[in-house]
């Protein structure tokens, strides 16, 4: 009889993993500073939400220009990224290429913008480079996966002419997937370009933050709503037919790509980012002191806070997704409810985390609360949406329970749970990258220290902190990969769940 062996054998791998996420999340929750520091929070929130009724903008031509700027920068960037990405994908099997790409990917586009601001100044070139560099790396990785996945031609039949065989055997199958993934990535590029405005480039974020600071909440809403419309309508105006014409038009619209300065670039690489005790030859002792200071005062607290915010947000994301997904699932609700919830989820996930965090920061004051809320809402709605889709694909037995709660816990959740964990692990790295960047808004994560290093013009310190940030991301990526292997959920998502990467 096995009855008395207690319940230990019921503990499955995914329960064990969930338990770890839960406990770490709980500890992070207890440690994290989640205080509200604005004095008139309720009033502020009320005022902000009521101003949605008075949509207007002081100068419509500026608004129009901001949108055109954002869209054309995104188009040019995705165009160039897709070319570079494809080229790099061909060499993805090379270890060196793979490592350097994972490094490039691990640094957020806002950090890249901050770097190029130091070298080339505030201009279109900086904006485009800031998007191209991480996006080429992301596209290279996914392109390489797609090319590998759609390779059904037997190796032995492949002849000498490598290029011909590549074109004949790989490209035809993979091409539609490459195109659809690139088009999906454009939506992300739009969001990324919009938030570049927060560091001063004249895209949407710039006008959004200046309207916010002046208290013109109706203008904030105006920008947000127009942005939702642009994002929601992407598939109608940006597709395989319009891609090339739009790229050409954007190129002529942006017109001025000058600002490239070779001397600055050389100085940046060979001098600015070299630790100053080494640069000025102050000896080993001074170098160690320099590093030690940064390590104990910035790296340790920065890494610690980044991890706390990441784990807290991951935990909150998981909970929100589990609560939200029945609302978009045909197993639980009828069409009207599903449709309403769907619109709600689309709005949440098309708002960049950074903008959400910025809004919450203005409303609640600086602490981890705004960042955690923003990450939870954005990522929770993405995973909730994907799980809703998964659950719609399920066919349940005829004679299952009619009770909704029981159906959730016994029939639906167990069936989508592995997928859920896989989604969560895919978003983990992204949450970590965002946690670091949200430091710019004042939470003491790595981004905070990077931002202050730039403000003090200590680029050597900035560079060191960026390396640490990238390292942290790569470690999380590796753990996530291991965890997915452990759970055996390592299916390829590149063709279906694009929004995960």
């Amino acid at each position: 009889m096995t009855t008395d062996k207690s319940c230990i054998m019921f503990v499955t791998k995914n329960l064990r993993v969930s338990f770890v996420i839960f406990i770490v999340g709980l500890i992070s929750f207890l440690i994290a500073d989640l205080s509200i520091s604005t004095v008139d929070t309720t009033l502020l929130v009320q005022e902000f939400f009521f101003s949605i009724t008075k949509l207007s903008f002081s100068n419509y031509s500026i608004l129009f220009e901001a949108f055109l700027n954002t869209i054309s920068i995104a188009i040019i960037s995705i165009f160039i990224s897709s070319i570079i990405g494809f080229f790099l994908a061909l060499f993805f099997s090379n270890m060196l290429v793979r490592i350097s790409l994972s490094f490039t990917r691990a640094i957020h586009e806002l950090f890249w913008a901050l770097i190029f601001l130091q070298i080339f100044g505030l201009n279109t070139l900086t904006a485009i480079l800031a998007i191209i560099i991480p996006y080429s790396a992301i596209l290279a990785k996914v392109y390489a996966e797609i090319l590998e996945e759609h390779d059904t031609f037997p190796e032995v039949l492949r002849g000498k002419s490598k290029i011909s065989y590549f074109i004949f055997t790989k490209i035809p199958d993979a091409f539609p997937h490459l195109v659809s993934y690139t088009l999906y990535r454009f939506e992300c590029a739009l969001r990324s370009t919009a938030i570049l405005g927060f560091v001063g480039i004249t895209t949407l974020g710039y006008y959004l933050s200046s309207s916010f600071m002046q208290g013109y909440y109706h203008e904030v809403w105006m920008i947000l709503i127009l942005f939702y419309i642009v994002v929601a309508s992407v598939k109608w105006w940006f597709n395989k037919y319009t891609f090339i014409p739009l790229t050409i038009v954007s190129f002529f619209y942006l017109d001025d790509f000058s600002g490239f300065n070779w001397d600055n670039l050389v100085r940046f690489v060979t001098s600015d980012i070299v630790p100053h005790p080494i640069r000025n030859d102050l000896g080993l002792d001074k170098t160690i002191t320099w590093f030690d200071n940064i390590f104990s005062n910035e790296i340790v607290p920065g890494v610690f806070n980044t991890i706390i915010l990441t784990q807290l947000s991951l935990f909150l994301t998981a909970i929100l997704a589990l609560v939200l997904f029945p609302f978009v699932s045909d197993k639980f609700f009828t069409k009207p409810t599903r449709l309403t919830s769907h619109v709600f989820l689309v709005i949440l996930r098309s708002t960049p985390e950074y903008i959400l965090a910025y809004v919450f920061l203005q409303l609640f004051g600086p602490s981890m609360l705004p960042a955690a809320l923003a990450l939870m809402l954005h990522n929770g709605s993405i995973i909730g949406h994907l799980m809703g889709n998964e659950s719609n694909l399920l066919t349940l037995r005829e004679d299952i329970t009619k009770k909704r709660n029981e159906k959730y816990f016994y029939e639906v959740l167990p069936r989508v749970y592995n997928q859920f964990l896989a989604f969560l692990f895919y978003r983990w790295e992204i949450i970590m990258r965002e946690s670091a960047i949200l430091g710019i808004l004042g939470v003491a994560t790595l981004g905070f220290f990077i931002d202050s290093a730039i403000a003090d013009f200590r680029l050597d310190k900035m560079f060191l902190l960026l390396l640490v940030t990238a390292f942290l991301n790569i470690i999380v990526d590796l753990i996530s990969k291991k965890a997915r292997e452990y759970l055996r959920t390592n299916d390829s998502f590149s063709s279906c769940g694009c929004s995960l990467k």
């Binding site: 009855t3 019921f10 005829e398 004679d399 299952i400 009770k403 167990p414 749970y417």
Partner: protein, 219 residues
């Protein structure tokens, strides 16, 4: 009377699977439905289930097990409607001793007692089938509607399970492929071909000609 179909037409989408169909099954009857795939057995069973949802338990061909849950949970699922949400959640997280003992008893009858705590993913096809059968038995309804419940079992187990299914339910209706097992274990056999009844007789009255017809419909 458990079922009484008069001149009924049953369609699957736009396709008429059974047209002008007559069938009556009395309470307490043990009926085997024989026929090739596509002959209309599954459609008929599903239709019968729709007519008697409250009193019957249904084993679909694809079994409808929850892959990520253990055998215990999959059998317990048939009790969800009877118990409170609290009890159900409690048994999801920490199975109660009482249910474990009860379910173990059912599993013993289908020789699956060593798999109580195994996750469905780790079971073989035949073990999965026996798990779904245990769920149906544990449901304790009066009518069983099973769609090829023994297709993945060996001869010994097939025989044992069919005996069990005909004993545990007042009325049982099973779709099968195997003519001999059907005649051995059931009181009445119905041979279906292209949505039409070719044979419908009590097993004791079967002539050699009828048997030939049954082998023909299952061919």
């Amino acid at each position: 009377m458990a079922f009484n179909l008069q001149e009924e037409t049953i369609s699957y989408g736009d396709f008429k699977v059974l047209s002008d169909f007559n069938l009556s099954i009395k309470k307490g009857e043990k009926v085997a439905l024989l026929g090739k795939s596509g002959s209309g057995k599954s459609t008929l069973l599903k239709h019968l289930y729709d007519l008697q949802k409250e009193n019957s338990t249904y084993i679909p061909q694809e079994l409808g097990l929850v892959n990520n849950l253990s055998v215990f949970h999959n059998v317990y699922i048939s009790k969800l409607d009877e118990n409170s949400l609290f009890t159900n959640l409690r048994n999801l997280i920490l199975p109660s001793k009482q249910y474990k003992t009860e379910i173990l008893k059912v599993l013993k009858e289908v020789e699956l007692e060593d798999k109580l705590q195994s996750t469905i993913i780790n079971l073989s096809g035949g073990q999965k089938q026996r798990c779904a059968i245990s769920r149906a038995i544990f449901d304790r309804k009066s009518i069983l509607l099973a769609d090829e419940p023994i297709s993945a079992l060996d001869e010994y187990l097939s025989d044992k399970i069919l005996k069990l299914l005909t004993h545990k339910f007042e009325t049982s209706i099973c779709a099968l492929h195997n003519v001999d097992l059907a005649i051995k274990n059931f009181d009445r056999v119905i041979g279906l071909k292209n949505g039409k009844v070719l044979v419908d007789k009590a097993c004791v009255d079967l002539t050699d000609d009828d048997r030939q017809k049954l082998y023909y419909v299952c061919d």
